[in-house]
Amino acid sequence: STATVFVPLHAAAQEVTLRVVSAFAENTTYVKNLEGMIKALNASGKGTLQLNFIGGPKAMPPFEVGNAVRTGVVDIGMSTGAFYTNIMPEADALKLTQIPGPELRKNGAYDLINKIWNEKANMQYLGRVIDFTPFHLYLTKKIDKPDLTGLKIRITPVYRDFFQALGATVVQTAPGEVYTALERGVVDGYGWPIQGIFDMNWQDKTRYRVDPGFYSAEVSLIMNLDKWKALTAAQKDVLMKNVIALENANDSWKKANDDDIKRQAQVGIQVITFDAASAKQYVDKAYDVGWTNLIKASPTYGPQMKKLFSR
């Protein structure tokens, strides 16, 4: 019968529980959204599929979430590509997408991602949980052209190469030390998504935001490939329905970002803009640096990803 095609005998009518960890702390918006999705999934997936949220960085170090998914220590991880570049350099390319998730799903980009993720990381890429959210450069000193020579900028691996290419002196600090570092002038600025500086209280010590933004903040759900393959069609269906619903809800980030832009203006953060040519040069440089490094690290897949990820 048709049923046996989709449902292996041993798994028939069996409920599977998958273990989920997050590379981000429990109080972040990402985790709250994820918990909402898990709740919905567990309600609709009774008897088929259940998700068990184990926890955040307290249970698994953020930079180990990728490896834990790869080796099947956990089944599903919520992480950003920058946290598992130790497994494959291609993970870093997800920040370079210029097209929303649902479109990438259609234009073949997700198929390419899954080809690479399957082959190199033993992972199935499920979907993206943050979108439409560019990174920005925030400063305590005014600049009038895209040149950071003489400025000390706090970086994360996501935009280190870009800021260095603009001439910045880069500084690494723990997230908890950024506030003091800004206050005392240890750093003159930092990179962060358009949204979220209020969560860290950095608005007090931030005077300027540089527009336009660049790259796209990326957090995604990844799954162990063996566990994915062992799911029945019905189980995959429940999982993907909920993941895609979460991905489609990413439009809500637009509103969150607009709210934060307004709040930033209210607390007196001024916007630095460049003339059209310089602005284009600034953004182009960001992507040039990003793709050049990626293609150097992944000559095979880099160019293919660039083609499908870019407008």
């Binding site: 184990i54 926890g55 307290k58 249970a59 698994m60 170090p61 930079f63 180990e64 490896n67 834990a68 080796t71 099947g72 220590v73 500084v171 690494q172 600090t173 723990a174 908890g176 030390e177 003091t180 570092a181 206050e183 005392r184 002038g185 240890v186």
Partner: protein, 437 residues
């Protein structure tokens, strides 16, 4: 496995192994292997355990630990400590228990240069104890103040244990460091008051002895020459932070470097004593860091198994007022301090305490400073508080363990009073960090 069973297995198992005499680090590692097999699962889980162990100490936030300890060790091994004591001694005139008072003042100065309670206690013990005993001081009045002020070293920055508490609990390290200053100074002031009072009541404890009285320039010269420059390391380090030169974490390296530079300028630094200082530092910090390898992963497995959140939920569900919960935590810490040393104390309790504390919304600096005072109590707690052992190690044979136990008692009580003070008047802990920002 239910979270209750997991909690019994992990917490109970590691405690049992520790009391069997397995070194603390290995007790955590052994239970980690068991926990990884059960909760992380199979070979992949065991390999993940190895990877997480590497991650646990590959952490910039922990770098001040060896660097702060190094500051104390350099001071100790280069002989600069003697000069500091000399500088303090000439300033202090005839008070009851003069030498004990000098020990407390010199210890307070050391505290601002040394990030290691062991180094401070060993310095004062080896330099001042023989002098006090020779002048007829009773062993209790000779050893008590040295151990007590050695423990205060932990409250006054720099402090390796404060850095560790901040990094494990997520409480701001720089604010915790600043938060320890006021309670630390209050403690040294009360210690001095106690010594003076006690000796006035019981003059036989510390016979009045003749001392060479210096006047004018001769009196203040060693103070200006040695104490002021050494203490200004502290100022330089904090200054570098305020001037925006360095992050709080980086300041520890500047401090250690400045201490070496000063020792070099005083011509007290030699290759031999530098190696001794480095070896002493590597020993103490290697020991702490190796426990962290085991304990960080332990707390991850505890969290992974659901035991951490289960226990935290259990405490929250009791519905007790926050003050009662905090008081309960402090009592538990004091109780633990009788058996367990400071690093393990943090490692065992923080994964369970912090979620509860955060959920109750109490001031984290206040909580952290009280946690520090509880650990400071643990340093002094018989039968095997760390500083009691250190003291015994540098004492001549006529000082017995009983002397040391009796000597520390009044200072333990004073510390408990100050803990109660901070509990009732949180501003004692939070005023300065909030002021500095």
């Amino acid at each position: 496995m239910s979270w209750q069973a997991a909690a019994w297995l992990l917490l109970g198992g590691s405690t049992a192994l520790m009391f069997l005499g397995l070194p603390v680090a290995f007790a955590f590692l052994a239970i980690n292997l068991l926990g990884a097999a059960i909760f992380l699962g199979g070979d992949a889980g065991m390999m993940q355990l190895a990877r997480n162990s590497v991650q646990s100490v590959t952490s910039f936030a922990l770098t001040p630990i060896p660097l702060f300890i190094l500051m104390g060790e350099v001071l100790f091994h280069t002989g600069l400590a003697v000069k500091v004591i000399d500088g303090v001694e000439r300033l202090i005139r005839d008070v009851p228990g003069r030498l004990a008072v000098i020990a407390v003042v010199a210890g307070t100065v050391f505290s601002a240069i040394s990030g290691s309670t062991i180094a401070t206690t060993a310095m004062l013990g080896s330099l001042m104890l023989p002098v006090m005993l020779a002048r007829g001081y009773h062993p209790t009045i000779a050893t008590g103040p040295i151990m007590a002020i050695g423990a205060v070293d932990m409250l006054i920055p720099p402090s390796a244990l404060t850095v560790l508490l901040g990094s494990l609990s997520g409480i701001s390290i720089s604010k915790l460091l600043v938060g320890g200053i006021v309670p630390g100074l209050i403690l040294s002031a009360i210690f001095i008051g106690y010594i003076v009072l006690r000796v006035r009541l019981e003059p036989g404890l510390a016979p009045k002895t003749a001392f060479e009285e210096h006047h004018g320039w001769r009196r203040i010269r060693p103070f200006l020459q040695y104490v002021v420059p050494l203490v200004s390391i502290f100022v330089v380090v904090v200054g570098a932070m305020i001037a925006g030169w360095a992050t709080p974490t980086e300041c520890a390296a500047l401090g250690a470097f400045a201490t070496m530079l000063l020792a070099l300028l005083y011509r007290s630094l030699t290759v031999a004593n530098l190696v001794r200082a480095l070896r002493g530092t590597a020993g103490i910090s290697g020991m702490i860091l190796f426990i962290i390898v085991g304990a960080t992963t332990f707390s991850q497995i505890l969290s992974f198994s659901g035991a951490s959140s289960g226990l935290a939920q259990l405490i929250t569900d009791l519905g007790l007022p926050p003050l009662a919960v905090i008081a309960g935590m402090m009592l538990l810490l004091i109780f633990l301090g009788v058996f367990v040393e400071q690093v393990s104390m943090m490692m065992i309790t923080l994964p369970i305490f912090m979620p509860v504390v955060q959920q109750m919304g109490v001031d984290l600096i206040w909580f952290g400073v009280m946690f520090l005072i509880c650990m400071q109590l643990g340093l002094l707690m018989p039968p095997h508080g760390l500083l009691l052992m250190t003291m015994k190690g540098v004492s001549p044979p006529q000082v017995t363990m009983m002397h040391i136990f009796r000597a520390v008692m009044p200072f333990l009580l004073i510390s408990i009073v100050v803990l109660a003070l901070v509990f009732l008047v949180p501003a004692v802990a939070t005023w300065l960090p909030n002021l500095v920002g």
